[in-house]
């Protein structure tokens, strides 16, 4: 039997699927599940983590993320507008800030804020204790990334939108607030979600500030439990709880994107 091009394409495709499934099955089958589950899936260790894993650790992880996100978004918007400003010193400042904080590890910035600021201003402190330090420490880095994202979003709004708004008598700030920024935000929803997901995971760095049992977050909580129980199951629990936060977030964004697509 001769192979027509169509039959041959189909054969190649089926063979591809088959090979793919085989590799996955081989990997799964050759793993020692007994030993793995003894180490990583011990229900007694996992059970001992609750309810604190959710009421304290997960709650703080979400809280740190939201605080840093709001702070970073606000500062990032300011930086984005400065980068697009016609005033040269503003542009210089924003560019320098973005380059600096994008290039530094978040851990370093968090450390500097946690220990450098109290040294620099001995008679003043960041309000909110650890919460305040985390907000600023993680927000400073997040702002640098979000500034670039927002700038791209603002520039993606056609110039005619601003012209039409100005033509109707709106001042420049009014036109930005009512016309350009709402459309820019719609454009940057997907990349901003990326930022918030990255930020969620960056909250695992908070331990450098020295957290207490009430300000502890997921990764540190899991690490502490791992040390006392001498078993890595807590890491799996923490991982699953991170997914509890990030997966709905991705879902939410998909919904928002669909809505934005309808109005476009």
């Amino acid at each position: 039997m001769t192979l027509t091009p169509r039959r041959r394409r189909r054969l190649v495709r089926v063979a591809g699927y088959f090979l793919f499934a085989l590799v996955i099955l081989a990997a799964v089958g050759s793993a020692d599940w007994g030993r793995l589950s003894d180490a990583f899936f011990r229900s007694d260790v996992a059970g001992s983590m609750f309810p604190e894993a959710i009421t304290v650790a997960l709650r703080n992880t979400i809280l740190y993320t939201l605080l840093a996100f709001v702070f970073g978004l606000t500062l990032g918007l300011g930086l984005a507008l400065m980068r697009l400003s016609t005033i040269l010193p503003y542009r210089w400042f924003a560019t320098a800030y973005i380059e600096l904080f994008r290039g530094l590890p978040a851990l370093l910035v968090l450390f500097m804020v946690g220990y450098g600021v109290p040294l620099a201003f001995p008679d003043r402190e960041i309000p909110g204790g650890v919460y305040g330090s985390v907000t600023v420490g993680l927000g400073l880095t997040a702002a640098a990334y979000m500034a670039e994202t927002l700038r791209a979003g603002i520039q993606a709004v056609p110039k005619g939108q601003l012209e039409a708004a100005r033509t109707l008598g709106m001042s420049h700030p009014r036109a930005m607030i009512s016309i350009v920024l709402p459309q820019a935000f719609r454009i940057v929803i997907p990349p901003l979600t990326n930022e918030i997901i990255l930020l969620t995971k960056d909250t695992s760095l908070v331990y450098v500030l020295g957290v207490t049992s009430s300000t502890i977050e997921l990764t540190k909580f899991a690490g502490d439990t791992l040390n006392t129980r001498v078993n890595p199951t807590p890491l799996v629990v923490a991982g699953l709880l991170y997914l509890v936060v990030t997966l709905p977030l991705s879902q939410l964004v998909r919904g928002l994107e669909r809505r934005a697509a309808r109005e476009r």
Partner: protein, 258 residues
Amino acid sequence: MSTIEIGDLHKSFGRLEVLRGIDLSVEPGEVVCVIGPSGSGKSTLLRCVNLLEEPTSGSIRVAGVEVTDPDCDIDAVRRGIGMVFQQFNLFGHLTVRENVTIAQRRVLKRGRAEANRFAADNLDRVGLSDKADAYPAQLSGGQQQRVAIARALAMDPQLMLFDEPTSALDPELVGEVLAVMRGLAAEGMTMLVVTHEMAFAREVASRVVFMDAGVVVEEGPPAEVFGSPRADRTREFLHRVLEPTRVSETEIGAHLAD
């Protein structure tokens, strides 16, 4: 007092001089159509009137106010000048009604009910009362342009600027926009229109201005400019626009028959 009075207007983009000394006035109630080849500076001239482009030199007075004066409140002047763009520029994140009300509310500080009433009236004027809740993306190009006209009219302008309002439209949608513009002209609106629609200019304009290479070559009543153009450049342009199938090979230096 003239609605627009332009004196010795120059505009350069870098080393490119787009407007090279324009004198033009538009009287209240006049419909002035500006025609001319691409790159002749028509759109730039229009955009200078409400300062979307900053003139290099010269004077522009709108209803007696010198808009090039650094102390001039340009936002206040723009409130009185409606502008319609080639690309419509409707606000994509707002419904048709919101497009027409947002500047009324934010700039004129009208209340919601009053702004909605003005919106309804003006959408009715352009024949789109039933589209108030649609988003711009759901409308045809012609409908979008009519909304853009309603949006400008809702601000009660004393002057309307049209920048090639039908150039981005499919041919079968041009008529509905021109119909609205003809109606406006009949109501006595003062209009400065940059257009390639010669039939519209001939029929509706009180005066036609022919521009080429940054200067006004010729202006006058449409019957004169179209019927017996004085300048060679006007004649050449009208020949090419009105009789495109009669443009000969020798005219453009082609040698197809060889």
